[in-house]
């Protein structure tokens, strides 16, 4: 018997849970098994998958970003207000925001601050800025953005193609590139990375900037799907993104992350919502039920990990 590598086992659980959940949805609602059905099921998964990759980059350096929800909301507001009329202003604001993220990474590293506290504080800053930009729900999606997010691709719905593209790009970036190796190296053993002559500060800044870049993409994708924005549009993304990373086989410390798993985790979480709707569970109970799904999957993983050890 050939032994599976721990990485394969790590990826097996998210894949299995997605498959089981998908089978359950199709069994409850066979009409979901169509081009339209799949597109509707996974349409909102694209921004969540992007936010999950953003969270994963921060988790890879042993930090945690509690401001992703408000930052995605902020990006969505900028996208909805400025991108259609003044695209250059929008790009300048979003690039500036990415620089701020890099600076936060540097600050957290230099002063050895707990990332949870700093990003929790920043979440209020981003939330406030979002309200300033867009005091009441509104704005609009730029034509090209709307067209991109609602394009009807042949055979396979766009949501699936986009998820695959996100997974592949994130995999190349985090698992294959030198920068990705350095980022995960910091999660694994920051001291030995520093001893090998790397600047831990630069790598952390890069990880935070990349994370912000994916968050910005998440905000833009969200506007493309919903055609408008609101200052509170993505608040639940903070916890969803953390859950997605963990569901996808990542760990909070040690630089053990899996980009493909994270995208699958995001898809699973989105699907869990639809699954519960198909079961006619009232929305009031859905958050709790989503939590239960999460706990079951994580319990499963713990069980497998123990058998492995």
């Amino acid at each position: 018997m050939t032994r599976l590598s721990p990485q394969a086992i790590r990826l097996m659980i998210p894949v299995l849970s997605l498959a089981v959940l998908l089978a359950a949805v199709f069994w409850l609602q066979p009409r979901a098994m169509s081009y339209m059905g799949m597109n509707l099921l996974f349409n909102l998964a694209v921004p969540i998958a992007l936010a999950t990759i953003a969270q994963m980059l921060v988790i890879a350096v042993n930090d945690l970003d509690l401001s992703i929800g408000t930052f995605v909301s902020f990006s969505a507001c900028v996208t909805a207000v400025y991108l259609p009329t003044a695209p250059l202003v929008a790009v300048a604001i979003l690039l500036g925001a990415i620089c701020v993220y890099a600076l936060i990474g540097i600050l957290i590293h230099l002063r050895d601050l707990p990332s949870i506290v700093v990003t929790l504080g920043m979440s209020f800053v981003w939330g406030g800025l979002a309200v300033l930009i867009l005091p009441s729900p509104g704005g609009q999606a730029a034509g090209w953005l709307r067209a991109l997010m609602t394009a009807s691709t042949p055979f396979v719905p766009l949501a699936i193609i986009a998820s695959v593209v996100i997974a592949v790009v994130a995999h190349l970036l985090v698992m294959r590139s030198t920068l990705g190796v350095a980022i995960r190296g910091i999660g694994g053993n920051a001291r030995s990375v520093a001893r090998a002559g790397w600047s831990v500060m630069k790598i952390k800044a890069a990880a935070y900037a990349l994370s912000a870049f994916f968050s910005v993409l998440a905000g833009m994708a969200l506007v493309g799907v919903t055609t408008s924005a609101d200052a509170n549009i993505a608040l639940r993304y903070t916890l969803l993104s953390i859950a997605g990373v963990i569901l996808g086989g990542g760990e909070f410390v040690g630089g053990r992350v899996s980009p493909v798993g994270a995208v699958i985790g995001a898809l699973t979480l989105t699907l869990a919502g639809s699954f519960l709707s198909f079961l006619r569970i009232s929305p009031d109970w859905q958050i709790g039920a989503q939590g239960a799904v999460l706990i079951i999957v994580l319990g499963l993983r713990l069980l497998l990990a123990r058998r492995e050890a």
Binding site: S5, P6, Q7, T178, V181, A182, R184, G185, G187, G188, N189, R191, S192, V193, A194, R195, A196, G197, W198, G254, G255, R256
Partner: protein, 487 residues
């Protein structure tokens, strides 16, 4: 070439001083390492071995003195200057990233490895190097490091540091490189070191196995108290003279009157571990020392003693054992609490009436120990961090001694404590032992070991020797801590 290499050492350290607070770790050290030599570096705990290694590899900037790699002056150049000078370092604790594959670790360690296909290149390089150093090994180089057993991790780390990518290695520092290797692998490594040095490289070898040092080095440097006390070719040393050089020359310790406790009732005992020369036992009123080089299993011993005498579910009353932590900041003090609360937490049960703390009794206890330990503070209500390190340590001692515990475990508690405080505490320990308490004392300081009634010496995680009474001497402890040729 030869004359050039003689004039230009790979690393040259001149008059280097390093101090951590009041403790001088290096006190004017001169050291040259020439191409084509293996320099053996030996010394007991706190001699400054790790500090000099950190200076050479750029991790520590000396407060005084100069450092040069080859002909290049590198004062303050840091890690990158050291790596550019060809210095590679295998650290005592494993320092690979466990979550990365072997190839990815090589990429992190060698920034010269670039271009497409670096993974494949790294794999073929490491496979070749591993079979060069450890012929016949079966290391799976495609695995992530966490999947490898500890022996293979150490083999991989050693091989990575001997790789020549970009800047070739000119000096490889091996700090206890054989601690996780078995005898056959250790012999393969030493053979490789000899070949590498014969080819013009140089190696700085630190090991507690004197046989390795004597058989592999071409020159041996002995350090003691932050100074180089001997620096001679290997032919000038034997196992015995090496141990003597590490010890102090003049001090003849006046031991406190020897007490015969062999009739006293047993307080605690543990069966001998696999490979240990002796079982552990401590009698009532005895001061038992745990000696040997730092990190050779003494703390684990204290923890297993603690576990054997306390329940992990519900605390027993009255408590049988008390623990004095060595690393104050990590597991000793409650930094936000007052001195009094840091003291009384040891046995709050005795101070409580109906599950609420009796403040009068708590204050009385504080006053009693303030005068007994001479804790230098105007008010026991001040925060613990307002005290000096030594006084904080006194509070931790008082916390343990204020409990009715019959056994006190001490995990090298005097690190960084000034000499006056030490003398105070030694006196109190003596008095408490006379009154029937048992002390089990792990110490890295020879003076403290010599205060004990009986001493167990640790090496490689097990007790290898037991010394009693007048046998407790620096020479005997050193001889047992370092594995000689005869052992």
């Amino acid at each position: 070439m030869i004359s050039e290499s003689e004039t230009c050492p790979v690393v040259s350290v001149r008059g280097v001083r390093v101090a951590f607070g009041a403790v001088t770790a290096l006190d004017g050290v001169d050291l040259d390492i020439h191409p084509g030599e293996t320099l053996g570096l030996v010394g007991h705990n706190g001699a400054g071995k790790s500090t000099i290694v950190n200076v050479i590899n750029g991790g520590l900037t000396p407060h005084q003195g100069s450092l040069a790699y080859g002909a290049v002056d590198a004062a303050g150049g840091g890690v990158s200057a050291a790596r550019a000078g060809g210095v590679r370092c295998v650290f005592q604790e494993l320092s690979l990233c466990p979550n990365l594959t072997v190839a990815e670790n090589i990429r992190l360690m060698h920034q010269g490895l670039t271009g497409v296909g670096w993974r494949r290149e790294a794999l073929s390089l490491i496979r070749a190097k591993l079979s060069e150093i450890f012929p016949g090994n079966r290391v799976d180089c495609a695995a992530t490091v966490a999947e490898l057993p500890i022996t293979e991790r150490q083999m991989v780390e050693i091989a990575i540091n001997f790789l020549s990518i970009g800047t070739p290695p000119r000096l490889v520092i091996l700090d206890e490189p054989t601690s996780s290797l078995d005898a056959a692998l250790a012999e393969q490594l030493m053979a490789h070191v000899r070949r590498y040095v014969a080819g013009g490289g140089s190696v700085l070898l630190i090991s507690h196995i004197l046989g390795e040092i004597l058989s592999t080095s071409t020159r041996i440097v002995v350090m003691k108290d932050g100074k180089v006390v001997a620096n001679r070719p290997v032919s000038g040393f034997s196992g015995k003279s090496l141990v003597e050089a590490m010890g102090s020359v003049v001090k003849e310790k006046v031991r406190a009157g020897a007490r015969d406790l062999s009739k006293a009732p047993l307080a605690v005992s543990l069966p001998a571990a696999a490979g240990a020369a002796t079982a552990f036992a401590a009698r009532r009123g005895e001061i038992v020392g745990l000696a040997g080089l730092g990190g050779h299993g003494q703390t684990d011993m204290l923890l297993s003693l603690f576990r054997s005498r306390s329940s992990s579910w519900l605390p027993k009353r009255p408590q049988e054992v008390a623990f004095v932590a060595g690393d104050r900041a990590l597991n000793g003090t409650f930094p936000l609490w007052s001195i009094l609360r840091n003291l009384s937490i040891g046995d709050l049960g005795a101070l409580s009436r109906l599950s609420t703390i009796a403040h009068g009794e708590e204050t009385a206890l504080g006053g009693e120990w303030k005068s007994r330990m001479a804790i230098r503070t105007p008010d026991m209500g001040n925060p613990i961090l307002s005290l000096s390190g030594g006084n904080q340590q006194k509070v931790l001692f008082a916390r343990a001694l204020a409990t009715p515990a019959a056994i006190v475990l001490m995990d090298d508690p005097m690190r960084g404590v000034d000499i006056g405080t030490k003398q105070d505490v030694y006196g109190i320990i003596r008095a408490e032992a006379e009154a029937g308490r048992t002390f089990i004392w792990y110490s890295t300081e020879m003076d403290e070991i010599c205060l004990c009634d009986r001493v167990y010496v640790f090496r490689d995680g097990v007790m290898v020797a037991e010394l009693t009474g007048d046998d407790i001497s620096e020479e005997r402890v050193l001889a047992a801590s370092f594995q000689g040729e005869a052992a």
